[in-house]
Symmetry: D2
């Protein structure tokens, strides 16, 4: 296993982008990307994972406190209902991305240069009125599939990965072997590197120095035909790439593969319940708000065991 | 069946409030209300309803257009990401209630006078920092249960109920009989009166003249121990009651019963798929955003068949 | 001069409220309050104060940083104008009051119990659609009058007043005498106690322990017929009063007198220029945003010398 | 006078941009643009215009109603202050530009291609954190100068200009001659074409067919060294220009001249008072909110006669 990470040259990312490109795979007008892997039969099989009936949220609370990793916090305002109110009402204002909010990305959220998923171009897709293709509304019928936890930290025999490390394909294989589980087409994987444990011990993550998914692990996800990636790490920082691949994992996952990304999940309680139940898989359900043109949505994913 | 509705005197509502009061039923600190009816075993049984694997959103799109029934529309703003952007980002601002947004109510959203569910008082519960009891965060682990459509319009042999009509307990019984389905403890019911069809024919609903759930139907829900009420009608307007019961269904459901309310669902596609599949029940999944202190949350409920 | 403050009993505030009550003084429908003191002749006289042509903002920058004294900061968002933008656009969200924003209060912003200025009652004035009387729109034609700085700190021979001190009528007299200036009807006074200097030395003000305007100073303002009060102190905290007079200065100024309040000015640069020019008075100009129903408005007051 | 407008070729605009370019005129770091024409002596002279003491707002009310010309209306929310409130509080959310809000433009609000005033480039100036040069904060000390109304409609002997007409230099000269007034360096001009009268008669303006300032009138403004342009017309639509000059008046005024633009004033009451008092000039005072990085600000300009 690699103790510290090394990055392939950018030319390899260019090749990888082409090799993993799902343009046209599900038709020229497809806006679902890898959600196509979640067939009706897959949903039926996923429902059968519900054995104990325990349910668990894997979202964070919406965070109204400003901090370096949450510069533009959620604004929650209690509103005036009447002078002698018969109820309580409120308003919410939030940005859809960042490092504090559990959220789904629209497939057109990130480009590779001008390239958007399925052959579209950013200048045509992104308008002041919202995304005209692959917005979050495309995912309106939600995600209902098998979720699989992959505990990379435990597979390495560590409590957490240090900020200069990466998650490689071999890590994913090792986690599967240790957990005796196999990721199948249409699954949602949850990659755990122990970030929250590390933050509890060492303070908030430095966004400029982050564990990241390594390029060969992206290929692994493609080959395994996963539908959804989630995890406590995303793009590695720092990395040697130009602006075209500055967030290379987002760029390749979204713009080439149409891979659905669930950012900033709360994984600690998920790890605990998996350990307690001696299971690695569960039914995952979540659905974005129906925001026409939206680049993402806050969500509250639920795992059912 | 009543062609036009008549209302019992307010004194009967006072009695009904007491009879249906679940205060203390699940402990003095309970904030889940009728979600307690959704046991692990209920979840396991609900999962078994997934037979075809078809999934359907029953939310409306977030509505950014101002209208009489949507006076304070959702504000969706595309944001500046960089001068040569590598992605698209956006922001959202919305109010949590009203007649345009599909949303879950927090149990403490509506009071009966000063009374909040489980013996609390509004002055102590509602603060500028948010609800201190029975906020929407209490429902954070989501709702995963059997959903049952009750097609009141068809049971009456009509396309839709006229604005001066009400839904009585007998209507619910008649719908069950016609559909050969029985509502069971922990279910989420979806009461359909054909509102969207009526609006398509006659224009937007007049909020001052609305079909409503009648008091004896609230008792029916209590006796059947449903977990969630949803429907295209809620409180009847006009009604003869004082401010204490101006929205008597919300007041009794939330403040007495702790009954979870899913407001403003999109029922037409649900009716269509139920008719097509000749089914009345399905697996319902939804989860509110984790808003500490929140009075409700936009949601995108998903029905799986 | 009082080294530490003592408060009169609440019964004296009740009497003071009645004695200073301007109800009906300018007609039963008056919404201008003490702005009535700013006559056309007063404006002409104020314009003549412009001698050097120097202009100075006495507002703070809008503050987007969250802190104990700014819990709900201004939200400023750069917006997406186009993929190859020909300009920059943005949005702003802010609350109208608090301790970080330079703002004008609407006269109906604060009540004494149920009492609003000019005989109105809060339950009728305050609605979810905004204030129906004495909103900030009433001040739409702006404030153009003589401003007078009263340097209480220097009059006491101190750099700043300690948090347990108060500003008494005698302080105002002493400042006038030291500065050889006299406050006249229609003036806007700026009371300076050195708060920003104190904060620079000792850290942010503790909102629970604040220098305040003492009741006899409110009477002084009434007798002098000032149009506008501004300063780096407002209500004293802690104080011994019930909720009816918890913010007694706001309550008496707004609800009895209809005295216009400009909260959270930036006084340090004003003190500097006054010292440099050896002047205590200047032309003050400011105008609220035209917010129908608004309880206040952010402003940028300008002093012209 | 031109009955219908004709546009010079775009090459003439390129030349005009260069001829009117104030880059370096007031130093390489200047962010004030034509506000430099408002000298202290100019302010003293402007103050002397206050003769009657009458004050008039020339802003529109903030508009919370959605319409084709106000697609993203101001959001004004009354907030929860307490269960038995002692006051009323509220929040405001708004976009800074458009056709409904009276607002000042920051000089860097509009570019000509990549060109921003004083030699800067848009890619460096515009960031997600706000404008880094020539933001609205640069205008923080406000605008205090002579205002001059130029009634183009009356000079043409019409109630209003038709949508296919333009305002030429000759119109400005004719208005001066008719009104016996002369625009001087540092003045703020208010060009009136009768738009509100036309809208009252013919309905809301079609934003795709608008009266506009013609290129030779921009040269006139440069030669006269005005500090501020305001009026009920801005850029002519349709026009024959490329995206580089799609809003040619904004592009040349802001990016070449650094000319301050006050958009969407309410001119009808100003015309009335000028007619009543038989005056064309007055003291103008206004100041933007202190928004660091802001591209503009809502304002309430006040005319004092």
């Amino acid at each position: 296993m690699n103790a510290t990470r090394s990055f392939p040259p950018e030319s390899e990312l260019e090749a990888l982008f082409d090799q993993l490109n799902n343009t046209g795979r599900w038709g020229t007008d497809d806006e679902l990307g890898t959600l196509n892997y979640i067939t009706p039969a897959k949903r039926v099989a996923a429902a059968a994972l519900v054995q104990t009936g325990r349910a668990l949220s894997i979202a964070r609370d919406l965070d109204t406190t400003q901090s370096p990793n949450n510069p533009s916090p959620v604004r929650h305002t209690m509103c005036y209902q009447a002078h002698e109110p018969i109820g309580a009402v409120d308003e919410l204002a939030l940005g859809m991305h960042g490092f504090a909010l559990t959220h789904l990305d629209a497939i057109a959220h990130v480009y590779r240069g001008q390239d958007v998923y399925n052959g579209r171009k950013a200048a045509a897709v992104a308008t002041p009125a919202g995304l005209q293709f692959c917005d979050i509304l495309a995912q309106k019928d939600g995600i209902f599939t098998r979720g699989v936890l992959l505990d990379i930290a435990s597979a390495r025999g560590e409590s957490w990965l240090a900020p200069d490390q990466g998650v490689f394909a071999a890590d994913l294989d090792a986690a599967e072997a240790r957990q005796q589980v196999r990721v199948e087409p249409g699954d949602a994987i949850f990659v755990y590197t122990g970030l929250q444990k590390r933050e509890a011990a060492q303070g908030p993550e430095n966004l400029g120095q982050r564990v990241g998914i390594m390029p060969d692990a992206i290929r692994w996800m493609h080959e395994r035909r996963i539908a959804v990636y989630s995890g406590d790490c995303v793009d590695a920082f720092p990395n040697p790439y130009s602006v075209r691949y500055a967030i290379y994992f987002h760029a390749i996952a979204l713009a080439a593969m149409g891979l659905i990304l669930l950012d900033i999940p709360a994984l600690e309680p998920l790890v605990e319940i998996c350990n307690e139940l001696e299971r690695s898989d569960f039914l995952l359900t979540m659905a974005p708000l129906r925001i026409r043109g939206g680049t993402g949505s806050p969500v509250n994913p639920i795992a059912i065991f």
